[in-house]
Symmetry: C2
């Protein structure tokens, strides 16, 4: 049964050439904030470049009649009230980037949300129909987690998974807290935007795929059905500081040697599971990090992901045994702390079906995808029905200045987001759930 | 034939209790500059703590009638002119430390030199005999090489092994040049102190052993006969930045995985040579170093040392082959640059014999040692006869806050330095060489 026919489909007017051009032009302007020479962006959370991008978005929203608000963890909202007192459908992603990251990751989803909601605004202005919910564009604070850990911080606080004070007191490598960093750029809000009166009804997020399924298969849209599970660990390797030249080899307690064995073990663990387990160490810091000093300590961050929770549990046990062997071999102590975790989890089926109907009605091709990357929707789907959409990314390149998505795919994504929002404002999701 | 009897030995007056107490007190004062909680010091080259220590030493020297000078690479000299126009015997070491280093490494040798020369000054004031050379205490700039590479920078420029401009333009991790750092602390001198008129005649350096031969065997003094050879390499591992979660394992070009395999290979190379090869990686920096980003690049510094040049050459060839395999396994490129090297090399035999005679006449026990660590004397012995002496270090701990040497060993070292300097001012070394 095709819900779009059963529920009575309303498709927005086809995108005008001007609407497409505006989006591409706005995206180019936005990509100038924190732009790197190699075509990427460098705007980690609450840096000057992040602040520039946020101010530009707020201005864009205000100019179109949105009410702009910031909550106490620096999430930025652009509210479009269509029906006073009705709940809000949130739509957005994040403007912050990895160090030397790509211009599409996150930022595309925020701008697509803004353009889509603005299209809905113009639609309602011109046809007078009554929607059943309000809309809000959202830019979640610190999705990337490179400067402040954990990642997806803003949505975690919003959804109650992370304590506000804990988040605000988190420090970056130089000791600056989230509270200080947000205050400095003037982005620390004072209210619980959606705490009581403005209840969220649903969430929509569109993002580049960060994988190459769509690009390889030549498909327009990925309908995200579930997430991979992830385990993240903070590891400390403890050795003893010594002279690289004079200290006898047998006496060394070389923290970096221990860490190197651990990095190799973690990577090679993935070989057992034929791409059903992704493992990585991307962050490793050596103390004191002098060329002639055997390291006394290494801090590192491990990232393990799988579509299957039981694989993660098994990998955890294998690592425990391997780390015990490394401790003996390198004469070090390895301390392993669980930093952050999320289970393999499904997006609400009614959301996937609503999105599939909209994709079909727009004449776009689609495929279901399980996302290996975390997104703010991973948090949001715990509290409200959430729809996660992907557009293609050339060669699936991600967290890299080389990230690239074609303009026609960017515009398809805006169209689809607008179409889904339109259906949500008509209560389609509620009807779907009742089926 | 015992040179001390043949040449007519003059032993200084036995150390008074006051002289010993003064040394220990001065050493404690000096160890307060940049002191760390765990009993070490943190005073990397041309930092504020290094500057404090240098100013304190300069003041100490001036108060006792030394003329204080700085050369153009920030070496600090305290000149004691006994015979106008005669060449100088230099004696000293370095005041800079590793990050969280020990209080004895280098600093002891500078203060021992100052106290020894001052004792000679008082000796000549009271007995009126004419010496044949002048004496100068020296604090070599940046021996440690942790902030600015290479190590032994000041003595390398002084001896013409390193170009002055190259050294001054060397930057630390934050981009500050040696020239700027020395200017900021007011320690950039303007003259070639020993360029023409003040020619050096010999060099003496005393240092803690940084090994445990003396401590284990209960011997008072190490007579250093030669250095181990060292090869130091700068390594860049080039990969491609990517997402730790979403990127398929087979597509990864993980620079940190490649670096980890290299660190392990370098360490395990040493196992083939039964402590005749010391290998280490103490410095490793990851870019961009984010927990959810596969590293695009790793920079690291390798340190290989051996008493045997041919072992180093063989190790170099083995590493070349292993790195080629790692490049394939980790899908990365490894770039290896020779950063710094010194061959296994002998101290002048006449200097060792002069020192042995002085040690014997003072009733101290001794053993010959080949040093595995580099010292400024490694540079100085290329241009003048040089004497290198070790005192015991408990458990041989080095480049660590836990470094410790007993006060009686510190005082023995000052006595020996003074005794050797006295013989040098009497021309003993020249006579020894003529034998």
């Amino acid at each position: 049964m095709n819900p779009s026919t059963e529920l009575g489909t309303e498709v927005l007017l086809p995108r005008s050439k001007e609407e497409g051009d505006d989006f591409v032009a706005d995206f180019a302007t936005m990509s100038g904030f924190g732009a790197t020479e190699a075509g990427g962006v460098e705007r980690q959370a609450a840096t000057a470049a992040d602040a520039q991008t946020r101010r530009w978005l707020a201005q864009w929203l205000r100019e179109r009649g949105f009410r702009v608000k910031r909550d106490r963890i620096g999430n930025l909202f652009g509210l479009l009230e269509l029906i006073p007192g009705a709940p809000y459908v949130l739509v957005g992603s994040h403007l912050d980037s990895q160090p030397r990251g790509g211009r599409y990751d996150g930022a595309y989803g925020v701008l697509a949300a803004a353009h889509a909601v603005d299209r809905i605004r113009r639609h309602y202005q011109s046809n007078g129909v009554s929607p059943s919910v309000n809309l809000a564009v959202v830019n979640w604070f610190n999705e990337e987690g490179s400067r402040f850990k954990p990642s997806m911080m803003g949505s975690a606080v919003y959804t109650g998974k992370l304590d506000l004070e804990t988040a605000l007191n988190t420090t970056d490598a130089s000791g600056t807290t989230v509270r200080e960093a947000l205050s400095v750029i003037g982005e620390l809000g004072e209210e619980d935007v959606f705490g009581t009166s403005l209840a969220p009804a649903a969430y929509v997020e569109i993002h580049i795929e960060q994988g190459k399924i769509l690009d390889k298969q030549g498909v327009d849209i990925g309908l995200v059905t579930s997430t991979w599970a992830a385990n993240k660990y903070e590891i400390s390797v403890h050795g003893a500081q010594a002279h690289t030249g004079s200290t006898e080899m047998a006496d060394r307690q070389d923290a970096l040697y221990g860490a190197a064995l651990a990095v190799a073990a973690v990577r090679e663990l993935a070989d057992r599971y034929d791409d059903r387990l992704h493992t990585s160490c991307g962050q490793l810091t050596v103390y004191p990090n002098s060329p002639v000093v055997v390291a006394r300590e290494v801090q590192m961050h491990l990232d393990l992901r799988s579509p299957d929770d039981s694989i993660l549990a098994e990998a955890d046990e294998i690592l425990r045994r391997q780390f015990a062997k490394i401790e003996v071999k390198a004469n070090v102590q390895i301390e392993k702390r669980h930093a952050h975790t999320w289970a393999a989890n499904f997006y609400q089926k009614e959301g996937v079906e609503l999105a599939r109907a909209a994709v079909n009605d727009l004449g776009l091709s689609n495929v279901e995808i399980r996302t290996r990357a975390g997104h703010d929707s991973t948090n949001m789907k715990e509290i409200v029905p959430s729809i996660m959409l992907f557009i293609p990314s050339v060669d699936g390149i991600s967290h890299s200045e080389l990230e690239y998505t074609h303009d026609h795919d960017l515009c398809n994504g805006v169209d689809l987001t607008a179409e889904i929002l339109l259906r949500l404002t008509h209560g389609h999701l509620a009807e779907q759930r009742a089926q």
